[in-house]
């Protein structure tokens, strides 16, 4: 009996001690460790954690009770071991909450689940029917379906979410971002529930900061810089000049009644104000019947810079002088309590790269801000936070002059922002953990306070102090939007999806390799479908360099190269991100908010590679084509003598081989690549296109042909079943993505976001291909093309019908939505080309108009 008991006890002990270690590992993770441990690791750990807690369903407290049970029924020998163990490993503090419900989906839900599980808090995921198999549901401890796919009926449906909170017994709710995160009504309803905490600011704070005009007024009162301006009746041009002088030049003048940017005039000096005043006045009276004129400081090329903050009040037992409190546990009854608002301000984030107010690239810290300006900004932020008694995480957004000299309050976001990871990367602080502790009334975690509050700092110093940080982090938002099709959302399954590794080496020629940390916050995995119901965000890709900005940029660029996203029925914006990263002005940090309008006035046509890069691509293409052929085709198959086999192999491996690489298919730009005997030194020669061969003058052509450049390839690792090839070209290590060959051997290579179709041909093939006719470009003006991939449901017209503009032509179903395609012109239907019931791909011809009547309006447009 004794023996048996002992064995059982030993078993129990080992399992429980393992559990303790695990807990400890997570609890004691210092900021530094959080940063250096890979995202994957955190992932696995949190998953493992989730499994443990769900399978055992206990908190450490109950583990302790388990110990006691064993204790009472076992030998003194084992008692000794157990007691030492208990001395060494302090039990972690109890979890802040019993159950955390995340009122969100996608990557942010996963992000919150990760931290919650690390803190031993079980989680509840809510989801719509279409999300029932998504990652946030899989990783949460439990999940509740709250409605149909449409977000107004599910994630935005307050009643359903509140029901989910009640039915699961969650005692905390994290709203994430978007959806209900800045809805004061939702926060209020949660506050009114018994013992449920809202992980965010109070409803009053949300309301105060939610209204743009009101928040500006509050900010001004709190001593925050707001854009100087005037809004009222002016009597004379002189008065206008006076106001303009007070506001400071340049100023923007417009009729106050006019909305938006309408009738906006910018004046750089007094004379311009005098000239503009009558125009403005006349406009105000004539068009808006409102004499008031609006004058505001005009900020040219402003930067969008924001301060992340974490504020929390805590019942404390010491004086509220900012001296840290050492006792991490809830204080005992009877002690004197102080309510103290603690505020941590994090280094600023620059989010100026925006497209139609949608941020694309965010980084921290900004290159623009001087320490003095930053300190001033932080002082004002703290003042604002105290004014509205703001708790939890929040962000104050500013517009900053492009010389960094001055800043103006824009608005305050009362939620955890999309771009919070950049702040986490450079400071090592887990903002979600901060939100959890603050909401639980524990205040800001002590180790985070310790980062800032050190002995010997004066109050004045502390006020403008930022959380210490090192290095530089950049985040790119990866959207399922096709920049080549005017950023149309792409919806469909992710056929291939591979995230970049958590740590990558970057190298530039002649310098030693440096490491970059990569964090990917994603909410999807391979095979899953991006639907049109929600935000098309695939993931957030964050690159962190402990050294400087340029390395963080290089790291992000390489991470983009390593990020495999295929499918979706369309493109994604990785190529656009790459192109922005390649812009010299971005690399300089010259990034005003109109960066994209300035650099892409006519939209985006894909990354354009330089001459050298094209040569490198052709060399890589030649090698990949050759290698793929080798791996697949050798040894030669049957019926050939051994001698011949050997001959083939030897010849291929040891002789200099010349191939022609056509970039962009058979009729694209051709390069002749001589693969050296050592398989390392390549000679690349640009071949002149066939069509222009005769037209161009001879001398010029010779110059071009003579120009041969050398490219060295030190290493190339690629297996045909992989997507990514690692290659060292001219001493620089880079990654390219290689697509699957089509039947004619054409495959695509992606490098620096540019997708290049590669056709590797023998010189003989290339010689003969000059006789081939280039495929004729189909004249689409007379055709109706399918605007999206889908199924042709029906035709509303038949051949020979006369149609008028706007008449329904056919229905194409895509993603369960029936889209009616209407005629954009009047004419006669020539031919119905599609087959009803069959699938159509994007740009497939559905219908042809009779060619006799050519309308002027020839664009067919999609109306739903």
């Amino acid at each position: 009996m004794f023996r048996l008991a002992r064995q059982t006890a030993c078993f129990n002990r080992s399992s429980s001690s393992r559990r303790f270690q695990q807990t400890k590992g997570i609890q004691c993770m210092s900021p530094k460790q959080t940063r250096s441990s890979s995202c994957d690791d955190i992932w696995k750990r949190s998953i493992g954690r989730a499994m443990t807690s769900s399978s055992i369903g206990v908190t450490p407290t109950s583990t302790n009770s388990h110990h006691r049970q064993i204790h009472s029924s076992s030998s003194p020998f084992r008692d000794a071991i157990l007691s030492t163990e208990e001395e060494i490993i302090k039990p972690p503090p109890p979890p802040a909450f019993q159950k955390l419900l995340i009122a969100n989906r996608g990557e942010i839900a996963l992000r919150i689940i990760r931290t919650a599980h690390a803190l031993s808090i079980p989680t509840v995921a809510i989801h719509s029917t279409i999300d029932s198999n998504s990652l946030h549901v899989q990783h949460a401890t439990e999940s509740v379906c709250i409605g149909p796919p449409s977000s107004s009926e599910s994630y935005l449906n307050m009643d359903a979410v509140c029901d989910a909170i009640l039915s699961t017994g969650a005692d905390a709710v994290h709203p994430g971002y978007g959806f209900l995160s800045e809805n004061a009504e939702f926060a209020r309803r949660i506050q009114e529930m018994n013992n449920v905490a809202f992980l965010g600011p109070s409803p009053t704070a949300i309301t105060a900061m939610g209204d743009k005009i009101q928040s500006k007024r509050i900010a001004r009162e709190a001593g925050v810089n707001v854009i100087p301006g005037f809004d009222g009746v002016l009597q004379s041009p002189q008065e206008a000049v006076q106001v303009a002088k007070e506001v400071g030049f340049p100023v923007m003048m417009k009729a106050a009644g006019g909305g938006g940017g309408k009738g906006m005039r910018i004046c750089y000096d007094e004379q311009e104000v005098i000239d503009t005043y009558p125009l403005c006045k006349a406009e105000a009276i004539n068009f808006f019947k409102d004499e008031r004129i609006f004058i505001e400081r005009y900020i040219e090329n402003p930067h969008h810079i924001e301060i992340q903050l974490l504020a929390g009040s805590k019942k404390s037992s010491t004086s509220p002088k900012g001296i840290p409190v050492t006792n991490p546990f809830p204080i005992m009854d009877g002690m004197k309590e102080y309510e103290e608002l603690q505020i941590l301000c994090f280094p600023e984030r620059e989010c100026s790269i925006q497209r139609r107010n949608q941020k694309i690239l965010e980084e921290s810290p900004s290159v623009l801000l001087s320490p003095e300006i930053r300190a001033e900004m932080i002082k004002q932020v703290k003042s604002l936070v105290r004014t509205v008694n703001y708790t939890s995480a929040g962000t104050v957004e500013f517009l900053v002059e492009d010389d960094g000299s001055d800043f103006y309050f824009l608005e305050m976001n009362t939620r955890l922002q999309v771009e919070h990871p950049v702040t986490e990367m450079i400071t090592g602080v887990d903002l979600v953990r901060g939100m959890i502790d603050v909401a639980a009334g524990r205040g800001i975690p002590q180790e985070y306070l310790d980062l800032v509050y050190k002995d010997g700092d004066s109050e004045e110093d502390l006020e403008g102090k930022v959380v210490p940080h090192c290095g530089h982090a950049i985040e790119a938002r990866i959207y399922a939007e096709d920049p080549l099709r005017g950023f149309l959302p792409s919806t469909g399954p992710l056929l291939q999806y591979e995230e970049p590794p958590s740590s990558i080496l970057i190298s530039s020629s002649g310098q030693k390799e440096e490491q970059c940390q990569i964090r990917v916050d994603s909410g999807v995995t391979v095979g899953q479908t991006i639907t049109q119901y929600y935000d098309p965000l695939i993931s957030k890709l964050i690159s962190y360099s402990p050294n400087d900005r340029s390395q963080a940029i290089a790291g992000l660029s390489k991470a983009c190269d390593l990020y495999v996203i295929e499918g979706l029925g369309g493109g994604n914006n990785v190529n656009f991100v790459q192109d922005v990263l390649r812009q010299p002005s971005f690399q300089r940090g010259d990034t005003p908010t109109n960066f994209i309008d300035m650099h892409y006035p006519d939209g985006f046509d894909g990354v354009i590679l330089t001459k050298e890069e094209l040569e490198e691509v052709s060399v890589i293409g030649a090698l990949l084509g050759e290698q793929r052929r080798h791996v697949l085709d050798y040894p030669p198959l049957t019926l050939v003598g051994e001698e011949m086999k050997k001959d083939c192999q030897e010849k291929d491996g040891k002789e200099e081989k010349v191939v022609v690489v056509c970039l962009g298919g058979m009729f694209g730009k051709a390069y002749e690549v001589s693969i050296g005997k050592d398989l390392k030194t390549m000679a690349v020669k640009s071949l002149s296109p066939f069509s222009s061969k005769e037209e161009e003058n001879e001398g010029k052509e010779e110059d071009m042909e003579k120009k041969t450049s050398k490219v060295t390839v030190d290493q190339l690792s690629f297996h045909p079943n992989d997507t990514i090839a690692e290659v060292t070209v001219n001493g620089v290590n880079r990654a390219v993505q290689v697509g699957v060959e089509d039947n004619t051997g054409l495959f695509a290579i992606k490098m620096y976001g540019a997708k290049v179709d590669i056709l590797v041909m023998s010189p003989a093939e290339y010689e003969l291909s000059k006789y081939m006719n280039e495929p004729a470009v189909v004249d689409t003006c007379n055709l109706l093309l399918s605007p999206m991939p889908g199924t042709l449901i029906s035709y509303a017209v038949k051949e020979g019908d006369h149609v008028v503009e706007g008449q329904e032509l056919c229905i194409v179903e895509a993603m369960k939505m029936q889209n009616i395609l209407r005629s954009a012109r009047s004419g006669v239907i020539g031919k119905c080309i599609g087959v009803v019931g069959s699938s159509v791909h994007a740009d497939e011809i559905i219908l042809e108009f009779s060619s006799e009547e050519q309308g002027e309006e020839e664009e067919n447009e999609l109306q739903q």
């Binding site: 791996v631 697949l632 030669p636 019926l639 006789y771």
Partner: protein
Amino acid sequence: IFQATKHLSTSTRTAIENDPSTVKAAFRQRLSQERARALMGGGETRISKQHTRGSLTARERLSLLFDSNTFRELDTLKSHRCTEFGMEHQDTPGDGVVTGHGLVNGRIAYAFSQDFTVLGGSLSETHAQKICKIMDMALRIGAPVIGLNDSGGARIQEGVDSLAGYADVFQRNVDASGVVPQISLVMGPCAGGAVYSPAMTDFLFMVEQSSYMFVTGPDVVRTVTKEEVSKEDLGGTSVHTVKSGVAHGAYANDVAALRAMRKLLDYLPSSNEKSTLPSKPTEDSPLRSCDALKYLVPDDPNTPYDMKHVISSIVDNHDFFEILPNYASNIVTAFARMEGQTVGIVANNPLTLAGCLDIGSSTKAARFVRFCNAFNIPIVTLVDVPGFLPGVGQEHGGIIRHGAKLLFAYAEATVPKVTVITRKAYGGAYDVMSSKHLRGDCNYAWSGAEVAVMGAKGAVEIIFRGKVWLIFLNFDGILF
């Protein structure tokens, strides 16, 4: 050399002329001249005309089809024997077709390539003999035959001899069928009787813009049926790859088409001898886990998805060669590799017509299954089929007869058959799609798959017809 002997006496001259060395030297000279002439085909002007059309000559095509410098030509100088209608003056070495053998990625293959520059590539008695010769050789050693067709048709001057030539080729096509793979690449006009030889080969490909196939041309059509139609609309690539299903694929130009043929040959065995099945070493592990499969097939039985995504996930290197991609796309037929071994894949594609079986898809798949069976290629069947396509058109078109072809093909196939039901298999179509009752070797169903006579809703409507109240009783555990 006879010029140089002019000053000599007649007897000496005769002696020199009859000297074996002189005779042989003359012969050698003539031979090299004839060879040079044969290599030039129809001459410079016709060659450049062919090039301006965007086409290659017969020999250029062969040089691209085979590994460099491996083509060995046969019967280079063989000429026709016709003496009618002035044909005796038409001296044509090679007689409009280039035949021979060579290596395709190291494996031997036989090919003929019709030369449009020589008498329009028309088929004569000797032309046919040359083709028959290499087909016989290919059959003897067991190697594939590739025909590059570019011919104006029968050589009318030869009359029935030419027709006999066609029939000789047809007979070889049939004899070779199921013994060695036969591939036709129609690279130019192909009309009348000429269409049948390519149609009887295993695979037929076309080249866009330059090739068309029809039994009777637009002129005859106009006289007989009064229909006005262009060559392209009557028998161009868009017709045969999409509507008629005659051609198994089309490529943009000659070079692309020949590259594709080389790739296709890599999948095929050289003959029906099992040992000739090609295998290519791959580093794609058979244990590779494929996470995408968890999500690619939607739970909702009515949501379409592209079965090709599933195929590309499960085969080596995501690489497969689709046969007839644009015709009856509710079924996918493709060659691919698994662990380096060629497999034939037959899969319903819910993207079109919900993946159901109709006349087109049944015949398409039946022919593919029979080819695989003949050449020892294992068949992987991916099933997501709601049944046969209902409709008057289908019934009147003989869906019963055509559906039976697929059933027959699967039932007679003795190659390894692996079947995976990805989502649903209903009714008779379940039986047809390589069910285990048709000697399927391994039949799997993915989690969530439904195998039934029909969908639950339809079944309830039939079983509980007129006794709806029983449904409620039944749920309470009361027998009905």
